[in-house]
Amino acid sequence: MQVPAPFTYERAGSVDEALSLLGRYGPEARLVAGGHSLIPMMKLRLARPEALIDINGLAELDYIRVDGDHLAIGALTRHASVLDSPVLREHYRIFAEAERVIADPLVRNRGTVGGSLCQADPSEDLSAVFAALRGEVVVRSASGTRRVALREFHVGPYETAVGDGEILVEVRVPIRTSVGSAYEKVERRAGDWSIAAVGAFVVLDGDVISDVGIGITAVGAEHFTCQAAEELLLGSSVQDALVETAAATCAAACNPSVDQRGPEDYKRHLVSVLASRALHRSISAARGEVA
């Protein structure tokens, strides 16, 4: 039987209260949202916080809304809500396409956007989605609020820019027009983590790619993206050969580890195939063709 090491449980009723509890317990305290990453780690004693601050009651952080020219997603929004959101589907299909293959419906009922990003698992899917879309996160502490670009958010595996005494409160994504987006993931079985996954968005101005983003997870891509491939595509007119070169650039730039999910050359091959598909489908969607 796996049981977490002892800790003190506290429940926060507001962001301010969560911040003051973090201040009171210091660096040995951890927030718990869905708990679907943290509790398994505590059961394995890979994490042993002295205090657990439950933020599931913070309804103020559970929302998806349009905020000016951005989409704003509260940190406590569950995976299931992201999957079902009409607002997100209207702007970016990448959200529903990624969520459909994140874990399983029961895990998606509990796991949250904020918990996913803060867990910073190197195979985490939403990190690739938000990296592709060039999102930014809003982080609050007792001394104020700051914003961090998603592409600067990950400091290392399981490490983020969120410090002790801080809470991620919101993720923001710019709204774009004439845009198409897509997510492509290969997993060993239903509900499993990616062997590799690539997400993309493309904005077309006529036939010219006027904006593009690529997100890559599970294969050691720096900042969950490939800037070289984006630069290759940006400002060019759509050509199949160029998309293939960009996809090959993603495959060459990532840094997959050899593990039970497969050897390195296989993973690189997957990245190139998935990048090509994600880009092609994004382009079709930006043209208004139904995929």
């Binding site: 003190t8 449980y9 708990g35 419906p105």
Partner: protein, 169 residues
Amino acid sequence: MMKVQIEVNGKETSAEVDDRLLLVHYLRNTLGLTGTHWGCDTSNCGACAVWLDGIPVKSCTTLAAMADGASVRTVEGLEGDALDPVQQGFIEEHGLQCGFCTPGMMMTARALLDQVPDPDEATIREAISGNLCRCTGYENIVRAIRWAARHEAAAREQQSAHEPQGAAL
């Protein structure tokens, strides 16, 4: 230690528990409701699925403390005056062999049918994709859930036929 108060299957329950007690162990050990099964212990198999405020979750990955003040429904709470149609469906279509996955399957299935009364096979398979069965190969589980959907639809029809006719008719 802390005191939790959790409504389980419509009844208030309360106990002094360790802060680290998992909900699955609160249900099975503290309350003796062993219908909820405890399987992989790694958030994968769904044998421990129960409803937390109406939403199916894995109770091996939820603290009893997190359920304080909430309502929980377990497989023991499915049966009303008669067996729930989902339970009856598992009997009619042989939806179980060893039965280990069954409580979690049925809680997930009940939640699905409350949301989507007439799910097709793909929708059912997606809904139960967080519930693993090592015995049946899922075929009969899908049939069992379809059985429940059909019988609930028939029951609804019968009921509306007996209702007084409205102005539109």
